[in-house]
Every structure is written in structure tokens, then in C-alpha cells.
């Protein structure tokens, strides 16, 4: 049996709750596609090698680096970016509100990734105490070093949402 190798691939996925179909070159990363084709520039391109975490998005609810994920690997999956966190008319997501309340950023470049990672960290049940949050948020680098405030915001948001 031989496989058919395609140079253009049609991919259907859900992006922030909306189903859409796109045609991509297989090498297109989820990060590049979000920023250049889908018009969602929340996820940032920091290192483009999986080291900084600022491109973190959710795929089927699990946090992943957009730069280490191909769009073709997301067929049939639900992708959530920072733009999909706040619901229309409902104000900020509790994790976004906690980051604002705790001053958990300075320049803000890492914040979209921090937020998505925090949402997942809380949902996974890893937002239990300072040390656990620091360990499970270590994939998101903050060069302004707002780590104490980020840790406090994650713990506060976990408490707020009862998790």
C-alpha cells in the first residue's frame, strides 16, 4: 500500500468555537497560520523553537506550543487562543481578571501564552500551591520576571473558579 503525499492539505478545525476549513502547505505551523492567515496575533512568535512558551494555545483543551504544532496535525481538533478566552458580553475571563488584579505582567509580550498556560494549569489541577504552580508554569518565560505576581494570579484564579 502506498500513501499519497500531498503538497496542499485541506484542514477543518474549530477555532475559538467556530468551525472553519483552510488549505495549507504541510509545513505551516499552527502559530504562523494563526498569525498570518487567521488574523489572530495574540499568540506571539518568541523563540520559534518551543523554549519560551509565548505561542501557547489550547488544542482540544490541552496546552501546546503553536510553533511545534503543524496545522495539518490539528485536523478535527478544537483550537483556543487568547482571543477566545473572554466570552462576548461577559467581560474578562477569570484568569485574565486575576492577571490584571495581581499586576502579573510588565511588557505583556509573554502574557497571551501565560494566560493560556494558566487556564490549562488550573484545569489540570496543578494550581494547588506556589511550588506546584511554578513547576507547571515553567514552560512560560517572562523576561520582565513577573513570576511572583503570575504565580499569585494563577492561584487566585484557581480559587475564584473553585478549582
Amino acid at each position: 500500500m502506498t500513501l499519497d503525499f500531498a503538497r496542499r492539505v485541506e484542514v477543518t478545525l474549530r477555532l475559538n468555537g467556530r468551525e472553519l476549513t483552510t488549505v495549507v502547505s504541510p509545513r505551516t505551523t499552527l502559530l504562523d497560520w494563526l498569525r498570518d492567515d487567521a488574523g489572530l496575533t495574540g499568540a506571539k512568535k518568541g523563540c520559534n523553537e518551543g523554549a519560551c512558551g509565548t505561542c501557547t494555545v489550547l488544542v482540544d483543551g490541552r496546552r501546546m506550543n503553536g510553533c511545534l504544532t503543524l496545522v495539518v496535525q490539528c485536523a478535527g481538533r478544537a483550537v483556543t487562543t487568547v482571543e477566545g478566552l473572554a466570552q462576548d458580553g461577559a467581560g474578562l475571563h477569570p484568569v485574565q481578571q486575576a492577571f490584571a488584579d495581581h499586576d502579573a505582567f510588565q511588557c505583556g509580550y509573554c502574557t497571551p501564552g501565560q494566560l493560556m498556560s494558566a487556564v490549562a494549569c488550573i484545569a489540570e489541577g496543578h494550581a494547588t500551591d506556589d511550588a506546584t504552580v511554578r513547576e507547571w508554569m515553567s514552560g512560560n518565560i517572562c523576561r520582565c520576571s513577573a513570576y511572583p505576581q503570575i504565580t499569585a494570579a494563577v492561584l487566585a484564579a484557581a480559587q475564584e473558579t473553585g478549582q
Partner: protein, 333 residues
């Protein structure tokens, strides 16, 4: 990243069938492959995606055997109750690897195939310095340059790099077998022999070969014997999280009346393969589980280390990590 053709494999056999073509590559999580493509470490004209093969995903226990599918992610392995119960050193090694979001993509099959973190190797093409892994015959810039993180066992003048995988160290210590599928069918490879030192590769006539996996073979999963006793994985690094090991140690220990009746211990990031301390394992039964009793046994097993000019400290650090792993596995600390 250069363009490539893409296909999803419907079966593991179909994926293997494409690998006879040297221009083909397998993608599972992609955390290594995409960076290889970016740096020019690998180039493929065809990429076959095995991510949809659910039969390669499960974690099950059958009697005294733990089975882990190659597509289980590092987070799935690290947090799975069956792994925590029967192979806690492996669970710990998985959760100390990479970051939470990388571990949601990285698979246990692909992890052991990661390449060295040697900075001379992991640079964008065209390389401004020699590297025999990237350009065979060009030389080794690390040997003449910085090599404080490199091998203390098994290296040659052609290459002094180490294998950085954490899970591979635990798999070797726990006597895991890799299930491998090739064009001729399935076979198994013991994980303590899966990787090759530079010296072993040179002796086999392929100095830059890093594993016993053939270019047309695929890891489909692992089988581990579930044996009683304590286990530990100790990772020593420059920051507390999300960093490669300077050295690491995996240990499994059975005790009776505070004395060891059997012990297995492997070091990581000291060679291009996990380094089992077999002479220490033979000597340890009957030894009390104390730092004072364990240290001379481990130090004797490290006597054949051959550190480079800048990495003598790794001999001491690895011995200390091994002692700590044994103590922790036995519940002494």
C-alpha cells in the same frame, strides 16, 4: 523550513512502508522534527504522520508487564496511575523533562530519538564550525572548544556529545524493551542497548550512528517488567525546572532489613547512551542503604570514567546523583 509532502498513515505498517525512501520522515508529536527541519539537521521531502494511530497510544498492564504505546505523551506517561505504581522512576523522568506544554506534544516513542543538545551541533546551517554529526569528516568543534557538558564515558575524538533524554535513562534502568516494527516485521530491542556510544558506533563501522533503530524502523511501544521495590529519578540541572540535565540518575532498589537485595542504576547525560553501573549493581546486594556504604561502591563503578579537560566535575556529580537516587529509591531520604 523547506516544503514537504504530507500523508497520514492508516496503519503502522503503512508508515514503515514509506521509510525505505531516505527522503521520508515520521512525525508523531513533532517537537524535535520541526526544529531539525528549521536548523537543517534533517530534511525530508515526505513526512508521514503517525499521530492518528490509536493502537500506538495506550498504557496498560498485563500481569507483571507494563505496556506503553509509542504515542503516549510525556504528560500521559508521567501522570498515569499504572506507570506511577509500576515504574515511578519513568513517571518522574517524564515529568522532569521539558515543559508542561511540550510534554503534551512530545511522545515517549520520539523522545528517545532526540538528538544531542551540543550547541555546536544544534546550530542553523551553514555551520560556522566543524561537526562530524552534521558534516562527517569535518571534525569536532566541541573537543577543541567548550565541552563542560559533554561525555565522560564512551566518547571518541570524532564526537563527545551526550544523549539528553530523561525517559531513556529510566527505561534503561528498568530493563524496558522497545517494540520495533520494520519491513521484515516486529522485533524487540532492550533499552539498555538501544543507544550507542561513539566508541560502540565506531567499532561497528558507523561512527556517527546513535541508535540500533534502523532508518526504516519505527518504535511502536515499550514493555517493562513491573517489579516490587522503590524507584527514583534524580535530575541535576542549572535551574529547578525546564532545563536539560547536567547529569541524572535512575534507580530501582529492593530492600530487606535495611539492606539492599537488588539494585539497578543508570546515569544520564554522561554518554551518548544511558550508562548502567553494572559493576555497582553486582556489588550492591548486602550493602546497607546509607550514604557511607553506597558511596565507595558507586565510586568504584565510576573508576573507568574518562572525563574531558573541562568536565571532570561530572564524575563527582554523577556519582553523587547515583547515591542520591539509590537512597531516595530505598526511602532513606
Amino acid at each position: 523550513m523547506r516544503d514537504f509532502g504530507y500523508a497520514r498513515a492508516g496503519t503502522a505498517e503503512a508508515a514503515v512502508g514509506t521509510l525505505a525512501d531516505p527522503g521520508a520522515a515520521v512525525i508523531a508529536g513533532g517537537t524535535e522534527l520541526l526544529n531539525w527541519f528549521r536548523l537543517g539537521i534533517a530534511a525530508a521531502d515526505r513526512v508521514v504522520d503517525i499521530g492518528g494511530l490509536d493502537e500506538l497510544r495506550g498504557i496498560t498492564r498485563d500481569g507483571d508487564e507494563l505496556r506503553i504505546g509509542a504515542l503516549a505523551t510525556l504528560n500521559e506517561v508521567g501522570e498515569h496511575p499504572l506507570v506511577i505504581q509500576a515504574a515511578s522512576a519513568l513517571a518522574s523522568a517524564c515529568l522532569q523533562a521539558a515543559s508542561a506544554q511540550v510534554r503534551n506534544r512530545a511522545t515517549i516513542g520520539g523522545n528517545v530519538l532526540q538528538r544531542t543538545r551540543c550547541p555546536y551541533f544544534r546550530a542553523e546551517e551553514p555551520l560556522p564550525w566543524p561537526c562530524n554529526k552534521r558534516d562527517p569528516g569535518s571534525g569536532c568543534a566541541s573537543l577543541a572548544g567548550r565541552h563542560e557538558r559533554q561525555a565522560i564515558f564512551g566518547w571518541t575524538r570524532d564526537c563527545v556529545a551526550v544523549q539528553p533524554s530523561d525517559p531513556a535513562v529510566a527505561l534503561a534502568a528498568l530493563d524496558a524493551q522497545a517494540d520495533v516494527l520494520g519491513p521484515a516485521g516486529p522485533r524487540t530491542v532492550p533499552m539498555r542497548e538501544f543507544h550507542l556510544t561513539q566508541r560502540e558506533a565506531a567499532a561497528a563501522g558507523e561512527p556517527m550512528r546513535e541508535t540500533r533503530l534502523g532508518p526504516d524502523e519505527l518504535i511502536t511501544g515499550y514493555r517493562l517488567p513491573a517489579v516490587p521495590g522503590g524507584q527514583a529519578y534524580v535530575k541535576v540541572r542549572e535551574r529547578a525546572s525546564y532545563e536539560y540535565a547536567i547529569v541524572s540518575a535512575a534507580a530501582a532498589v529492593r530492600l530487606e532489613d535495611e539492606r539492599i537485595i537488588s539494585a539497578r542504576v543508570a546515569l544520564g547525560s554522561v554518554a551518548q547512551r544511558p550508562w548502567r553501573l553494572t559493576t555497582a549493581e553486582a556489588e550492591l546486594p548486602g550493602t546497607p542503604l546509607t550514604r557511607e556504604a553506597l558511596t565507595p561502591v558507586i565510586e568504584r563503578a565510576m573508576a573507568d570514567a574518562a572525563p574531558l579537560p573541562q568536565n571532570g566535575f561530572k564524575v563527582t556529580m554523577a556519582a553523587n546523583a547515583a547515591v542520591r537516587a539509590l537512597l531516595t529509591a530505598g526511602g532513606a531520604s
